[in-house]
Amino acid sequence: MLVIDEKKCVGCALCNAFCPFDALEAWGINRVDPDKCTDCAECIAYCPVDALEVKE
């Protein structure tokens, strides 16, 4: 499951733009829609502040 560390997240919206499933929403801080997210982890590569992680 994709987890966003809200303390680290800046809200730059890069993950949102590069999510292939449109599962992230950014308005200041990011939210993940668990119904759309497939845990593909592509967003993790685009996070400049290491705020994203897929946890078992």
Binding site: K8, V10, G11, C12, A17, G28, I29, V49
Partner: protein
């Protein structure tokens, strides 16, 4: 762990790192640049989203000045269409500044009468040509000695936001005068690169590769190797493998606090750690809007000092329609009016910015406008790497480890933002050229 050997390894493919890698490869140094993200350009780049070109930070790129000189030096192609001067909204009316004498003209437009305009202008000229004001008071305190006109103060609210970020009521009075000395009285000069900002960095990357240099993306540095107070390489993760790169020099275009984390705190001088941990990063945030009709049909856009949040907008589709999908228009809105010194509520700030946008452009709904994305820049992904006067030097206490970027500076005078990143990279490369020859390393 495999081994590779280079003259120089550059950490980070932002404006500073890319400039450094291009200049080094061009001068014959065996160079590798490693970037954590999948794209180059850091906070001065762009990407595509919903058919729009979205900036990753920087709105306007200067093709004159140091970036242009770097491109000339290395023989890379830079296509930027200049779109200045920016208009200034004063008490609800838009003022078009002349090509020359912009500040004086804007001042005259904001003043209640000629006597007020003359009084402020004389004080500014004296500060520039005779003695800058003391750093003991803020810019606002200084200006209020000459005027209580909120529209005149608004000019600097807009200017600060665009050029260095932060608030004139928090910045030492002399900082603005020092900046003018270092970079001229420019507001937000610049333009749009053909193909988006990413094209600027891909052009430099092409040069690096043509000269035998190496660039890796999706390759986060894991640590900087330090032996006996000297940097000797970097460990990089690529394709799930840790690769050790030996190098004579390490240049980091990551923020100084991240550079410290990579090299290990215990390897640094205590005073340096204190300087870096005291740095204040300057936030800003943006809303990128798409619409069926242009919201403001002027490419260089508008500076707005007098609104609560909105400080600037630019209109790239007036120059390059392909910054938006066919039939659509893009307007980029910036707010750089939160204090970097106090906490704030990000969602509330964006709500306020959107309210400002709709107030400034009542035709928002009729033009079919919609938010394409909203971005925050702060912390380790900041609007500006350091509040004015808090930049540190490029050399670090670890021998052969340099920082470049917008959180470090030339001791001879600070240049902010992307220009500062390019400037510090040039300084560092000069220093390296003085100390080592390619291949001798």
């Amino acid at each position: 762990m495999t081994q590779d050997k280079y003259d120089v390894v550059v950490i980070g493919g932002g404006g500073g790192g890319m400039t450094a890698a291009a200049l080094l490869s061009h001068a014959g140094y065996k160079t590798i640049l490693v970037e954590k993200l999948p794209f180059l350009g850091g906070r001065a780049s762009s990407y595509e989203h919903k058919g729009y070109i979205i900036p990753t930070g920087v709105f306007l790129v200067l093709d004159s000045g140091e970036l242009g000189e770097v491109f000339k030096e290395v023989g890379a192609e830079l296509r930027v269409t200049t779109a200045t001067p920016q208009r200034v909204r004063i008490r609800g009316k838009d003022f078009q500044p002349p090509e020359k004498g912009q500040l004086k003209a804007v001042l005259a437009a904001a003043a209640r009468d000629q006597a007020e305009a003359d009084r402020v202008w004389k004080a500014i000229k004296r500060g520039l040509s005779w003695q800058p004001p003391s750093a003991e008071i803020t810019f606002t305190e200084w200006l209020r000695q000459y005027t209580d006109n909120e529209s005149i103060l608004g000019i600097w609210r807009g200017l600060w936001a665009n050029v260095v970020g932060g608030l004139p009521e928090e910045i030492p009075a002399r900082a603005w005068f020092d900046l003018v000395h270092n970079m001229g009285p420019a507001g937000s000069e610049g333009g749009y690169p053909a193909g988006g900002h990413i094209a600027v960095w891909e052009s430099l990357a092409k040069t690096v590769r043509a000269k035998g240099g190496t660039i890796w993306t999706r390759a986060p540095a894991q640590r900087i190797i330090v032996e006996d107070g000297v940097a000797t390489g970097v460990v990089v993760r690529k394709d799930r493998q840790d690769i050790s790169i030996d190098a004579r020099v390490v240049i980091s275009s990551a923020l100084p606090n991240i550079t410290i984390r990579l090299a290990g705190e215990n390897t640094f001088d205590k005073g340096y750690l204190k300087e870096v941990s005291g740095q204040i990063r300057v936030p800003f945030f943006t809303i990128i809007v798409g619409s069926n009709r242009p919201l403001y049909p002027y490419a260089a856009g508008l500076m707005l000092g007098e609104m609560p949040r909105l400080s600037m907008l630019t209109v790239p589709t007036e120059v390059y329609p392909d910054y938006a999908p066919p039939g659509k228009h893009a307007t980029w809105f910036l707010s750089a009016k939160c204090s970097p010194r106090h906490p704030y509520d990000k969602k509330a700030e964006l709500d306020m910015l959107l309210r400002d946008i709709k107030e400034a452009f009542p035709e928002y709904d009729k033009a079919g406008a919609e938010v394409i994305t909203a971005q925050f820049f702060d912390g380790d992904w900041p609007g500006f790497g350091a509040a004015v006067g808090m930049e540190i030097e490029c050399r670090s206490p670890i021998e052969n480890l340099y920082n470049v970027g917008d959180a470090v500076t030339d001791p001879a005078g600070c240049v902010p933002g992307l220009s500062g990143a390019v400037h510090t990279a040039r300084l560092v490369i000069q220093d390296i050229k003085r100390r080592f020859r390619p291949g001798e390393m």
